[in-house]
Symmetry: C2
Subunit: 310 residues, 2 copies
């Protein structure tokens, strides 16, 4: 193992992604978007940048793409608004920053990174997070920027009902969202970042797993960096991201064994759909998911891959 | 071990609780309040009630007492408001309910229990949680009810500054708050509940560990039930509650070994102050803390104890 081994993995959500419902054009659009994010994050690492910078960079690209449920492509909540969650964690220091239910930030992941860098707190929410952000002059966007037609159509179908995405009785399952990135840099430091627009028709100030350290996002140089996607409530109850780290640290499993145990067995036993991307301190990458597909990609010095189906 | 072994443990916060700064009268008031909560929770178990009912009952008593930083005794945030967090988890089903930044609920733990019972979600926040609560006609209280003089005095000392409680440069550390309960019932089911008023002069919509499953609160019949108290951000980064469960499940440690490893070593290594109460499926109870004191109590068929100092 070379000390200078580095790599990155990204995801753009998991769920009922069926080849039969995908056009060649749409598939190409997803693949291109994933490649752009992957290559941007990888370029940061190749230039000697930190894993924190690389995961932020990759997630920004995914947030800026209307195809994914994060940033610009965020779904509509029950009020027709876009409330976004994001988190980032530094595996070297175990410092973390996260935000929940923030609006109009072009890149919630950058706001989460500011929380990591400049706050004594880990998790800030709503208008309070907006107040915190004032000194940093982050890019803000109007509601129109976040109005993406296919998201609006998804909302119109269930608006006014008690349905929301991830309702397991619904075909809406196929819209499981969230984006994320995990990376190992040349200095051997791990980082993880996750960002989401939540659930279509979301009510009651629901917070999912994405902004929660140990649940949807975790990084620790001793073990691994993990970003989750899927049915958030099950990931929360499974404490999935930290579970993978513990299976490595306390049970001595490899990254791949740990990620598979957590996603293909423990999360499934709870009844949860989803997947993770994970990287360990040796640069091994694991990307298991227990549903039909997961938009994902990985790149290191040897391989560069983007995939969608199982 | 009898199948009908049962027991409960509670806490009322940990921190710089010094015998030298305590009057006999004040100490007696804390002890009485802890005994009332402990005995109320225990009575539920002794009558064959569930651990979920017992921990809710004990936490309600602590929330109703102005001495503790939860419910009525909740501290003032930077706006002079009382924003409360609470969570509850069922070790049998791994279902959980939690609320963050809710106002005017007399008993946030009861609201969290409603989320567990009646929502597809785990964590609801702010006004959304209030909207969710409407059908359940929970007890609401005016802002005056939550105005407790010694909390107001604490706030006045740091109001308008950037200080907040848990700032390690400040003597405010002694006011570390939060209440919690963990229990094992006659049927062998575990449950955990945690409730807090957060930090004096809290800004930016900060959410701490208390409402976060796996961080400040966790229960799993396979291992243990845990409620944490202390410097929330460190408990979040340490994923302390689930860490104790993983040390038992994956490393084979006993409850006491796991709780001590997590609190006296891992949390300290991060720089965090605090403690936990924990109970396992055999009825063993562990209550380690790495600071001067923790308001705490435990009761089973053999013992009944209330303690404050180390």
């Amino acid at each position: 193992m070379s000390k200078e081994k580095f790599g990155i993995a990204i995801h753009g959500g998991a769920g009922t992604i069926l080849r039969s419902k995908m056009t060649a054009e749409k598939e190409q659009a997803y693949r291109s978007a994933l490649e752009i994010a992957l290559d941007a994050g990888y370029a940061v690492l190749a230039k000697g940048g930190t894993s924190l910078a690389a995961v932020e960079c990759a997630v920004i690209k995914l947030e800026n793409c209307p195809l994914f449920n994060a940033g610009r492509g965020s779904v509509f909540n029950a009020k027709g608004e876009h409330e976004m969650d994001a988190s980032i964690m530094d595996g070297k220091t175990l410092h973390a920053g996260a935000v929940a239910a923030v609006r109009n930030f072009k890149n919630p992941i950058t706001l989460a990174h500011k929380v990591l860098l400049h706050s004594d707190h880990v998790l800030l929410m709503g208008e309070g997070a907006m107040e915190f952000a004032k000194p940093y002059a982050l890019d803000m966007e109007s509601d129109e920027y976040f109005h993406v037609d296919h998201r609006y159509a998804q909302w119109q179908k269930i608006k006014g009902s008690d349905s929301f995405q991830l309702d397991h009785a619904k075909e809406d399952k196929k819209y499981l969202g969230t984006v994320g990135a995990v990376a190992l840099d040349m200095d051997g430091n791990l980082a993880a970042a996750t960002s989401t627009g939540g659930m279509t028709n979301k009510k009651f100030g629901r917070i999912g797993d994405s902004p929660l350290i140990g649940l949807g996002n975790y990084a620790n140089n001793k073990t691994c960096a993990v970003s989750c996607t899927g049915s958030g409530e099950y990931i929360m109850r499974g404490v999935t991201a930290y579970d993978i780290s513990c299976l490595m640290e306390y049970k001595g499993l490899s990254l791949d064994e740990a990620a598979n145990e957590s996603v293909m067995k423990r999360l499934l036993d709870l009844g949860g759909d989803g997947g993770v991307i994970a990287i360990d301190a040796q640069g091994n990458i694991s990307m298991p998911f227990n549903c039909d597909g997961m938009y994902r990609g990985m790149r290191n010095q040897e391989r560069r891959e983007v995939s969608i189906y199982g």
